[in-house]
């Protein structure tokens, strides 16, 4: 309950700064661009598909929604650090963090509250992001449940990004440093997926395990895979735990 009160304040503050709107606008513009080009591509290919028989899986689900979700995930990776960078850094810089902890709340509630506020932002972003697919449902017949599963996965993935960003924000008073660190960390986790064919075989499994986006593949396909769900959830819990540890640790030395 207290976590919700903390979240309410963070959410209010977030939406009083131009940053949230700018981030939202950029995210929607870029993902919208991808959506439009995917639809255009689909249209072009559908003309050719009429002449040639036997193109497998030529559905809006496979050709539009799935790549759209994957692209949105990568775009979120770039914008979430901008939202999480202020969570703890700002409070520490202002000194309000000290005051916040003089109220009857636990560190856990504070961390969860901050995560909830970011989750609220992500929810709005994804809802607006889903306008394209919703239009698709009006003019075409994609499948509903796989699309919902895909969005669920995207939400969870974005929460994972946020948990990492919040943790890195708890390490520093400087928002720029916090954002850069989060960018760096998320990019590395993304790029890891690219080198998995290059690394020696014995490391392949480790690299596979660490790279974040492959765990979203199944969701994008519209499949809820238990392993990937567990992976994303533990990623989230791991970084919430690290944040708590970092807050606790700083109170010993400040």
């Amino acid at each position: 309950m207290k976590a919700f009160i903390v979240a309410k304040k963070d959410f209010n503050i977030l939406f009083r700064s131009p940053l949230a709107y700018l981030t939202l606008a950029c995210f929607l513009f870029i993902s919208g661009y991808f959506f439009v080009s995917l639809v255009a591509q689909y249209q072009l290919f559908s003309l050719q598909a009429m002449q040639m028989q036997g193109v497998e899986n030529f559905t809006p689900q496979e050709w539009i929604i799935r790549p759209y979700l994957q692209n949105s995930a990568v775009i979120l990776l770039f914008f979430i650090p901008l939202i999480t960078m202020r969570t703890f850094s700002e409070e520490k810089k202002l000194g309000t963090f000290e005051l916040l902890l003089s109220y009857p709340v636990t560190e856990m509630q504070v961390v969860l509250g901050k995560l909830l506020a970011v989750a609220g932002f992500i929810f709005i972003a994804l809802f607006l992001n889903a306008i394209g697919p919703i239009l698709l449902f009006i003019y075409s017949k994609p499948e509903l449940l796989p699309t919902l599963a895909g969005y669920g996965g995207l939400f969870l993935l974005a929460l994972g990004f946020s948990a990492l960003g919040i943790f890195l924000s708890s390490l520093t008073e400087n928002q720029i440093v916090s954002a850069s660190l989060s960018f760096g960390a998320l990019l590395v986790l993304w790029l890891l997926g690219w080198i998995k064919d290059v690394v020696p075989k014995s490391y392949k499994e480790l690299v596979d395990f660490c790279s974040l986006l492959p765990h979203f593949e199944s969701f994008a396909k519209g499949v809820i895979s238990g392993a990937d769900l567990a992976y994303l959830c533990s990623f989230l819990i791991f970084f919430v735990g690290l944040t708590l540890l970092s807050l606790e640790n700083q109170r010993w030395r400040v």
């Binding site: 207290k2 009160i5 903390v6 309410k8 304040k9 209010n12 503050i13 009083r16 700064s17 202002l94 000194g95 309000t96 000290e98 005051l99 902890l101 003089s102 109220y103 009857p104 709340v105 636990t106 109170r251 010993w252 030395r253 400040v254």
Partner: protein, 310 residues
């Protein structure tokens, strides 16, 4: 109410607080006095549970605050040094948020209105905190500390950076609060302590130099200095000679309407009638005659720079 036992604090290899021991009693305003960098804010942060001491413990109502921090936080009102607030929120909005967070469920808006009027914030309650002047921000800081009727109020330099009128208002408010609450007030402004506190702790370089009632502390250094202003046709040399029978003369200097003498008794006897008679006998007119109190400032400076009062 609050007991501090053998408190040590080190930042890395640098020790900041050395074996602090003191206690704070119910219903008292305790002044925590020290020059900048003496360790006041660090101590405050430990007392609120924000900072963990390297060793030692703090007991609030006989409970160790490191074991049950939420118990302390439920009864604590805290104003940190810079009155940190969220500039994006409006005053009333911020205060009701704090009230919610402090777990005030019943009559939240009434509680908020109460502190708003107590701290004189009615005019600005619809304004964004970011647009407020320093004085108003300080008051908002004070208001959030008062919310939820806390048993213990810790104020870290509450009047720093305010103009004289604002300082007076805040002090009046603290004084009023002190009638029913327990307050720990840290400051480096001496007159504030003299005005507000009964007991004072002087701290320098992380060590407690004095922990006493203000009156006792002042008595310690008081030499009962008297100041006289003598006018008229006086033979100054003769007067001096006569006075030295029972007094020691520290200073003589001429002012517009006569001479000022600063004297102190040689023995413990009351010298007042003797002084009066002597001046009159020498054809002097005694225009002023008053004891000069040794102010807290003197005590403070002596303690900080010489380490001792005697």
């Amino acid at each position: 109410m609050l007991k501090v036992q053998h408190l040590n604090l080190s930042y890395g290899s640098q020790q900041v607080l050395f074996d602090l021991n003191f206690s704070l009693n119910q219903g008292e305003i305790l002044g925590f006095l020290g020059p900048n960098g003496a360790g006041k804010s660090s101590t405050m942060r430990i007392l609120t549970g924000y900072l963990k001491p390297s060793s030692g413990q703090v007991l609030f109502l006989d409970k160790d605050i490191s074991e049950d921090p939420i118990f302390l936080r439920k009864h604590l009102g805290y104003l940190p040094e810079t009155a940190p607030l969220y500039p994006e929120l409006k005053v009333a909005e911020y205060l009701s948020w704090v009230a919610e967070l402090k777990g005030i469920v019943k009559n939240t808006s009434q509680e908020v209105d109460k502190v708003i009027s107590e701290c004189g914030l009615s005019k600005v309650k619809a304004k964004l905190i970011g647009y407020l002047s320093k004085g108003y921000r300080q008051r908002v800081g004070l208001a959030q500390a008062l919310l939820g009727n806390p048993k213990l109020i810790i104020l870290d330099e509450p009047t720093v950076g305010l103009d004289p009128a604002q300082v007076r208002e805040i002090r009046d408010l603290i004084k009023k609060l002190g009638q029913e609450k327990t307050i720990l007030l840290s400051t480096h402004i001496l007159s504030e302590v003299e005005l507000l506190c009964k007991r004072v702790i002087i701290i320098n370089q992380g060590r407690i130099l004095a922990d006493e009632d203000l009156e006792n502390l002042l008595k310690k250094v008081e030499k009962t200095l008297y100041v006289l202003l003598v006018a008229g046709e006086v033979d100054l040399e003769k007067l001096k000679l006569d006075l030295t029978n029972q007094c020691e003369i520290h200073k003589i200097y001429k002012v517009e309407d006569g001479h000022i003498l600063e004297i102190s008794p040689k023995t413990k006897n009351d010298i007042r009638s003797f002084v009066f008679d002597t001046v009159v006998k020498n054809n002097g007119i005694l225009l002023e005659f008053y004891p000069k109190r040794s102010s807290l400032e003197e005590v403070f400076v002596k303690m900080i720079y010489r380490g001792e009062v005697h």
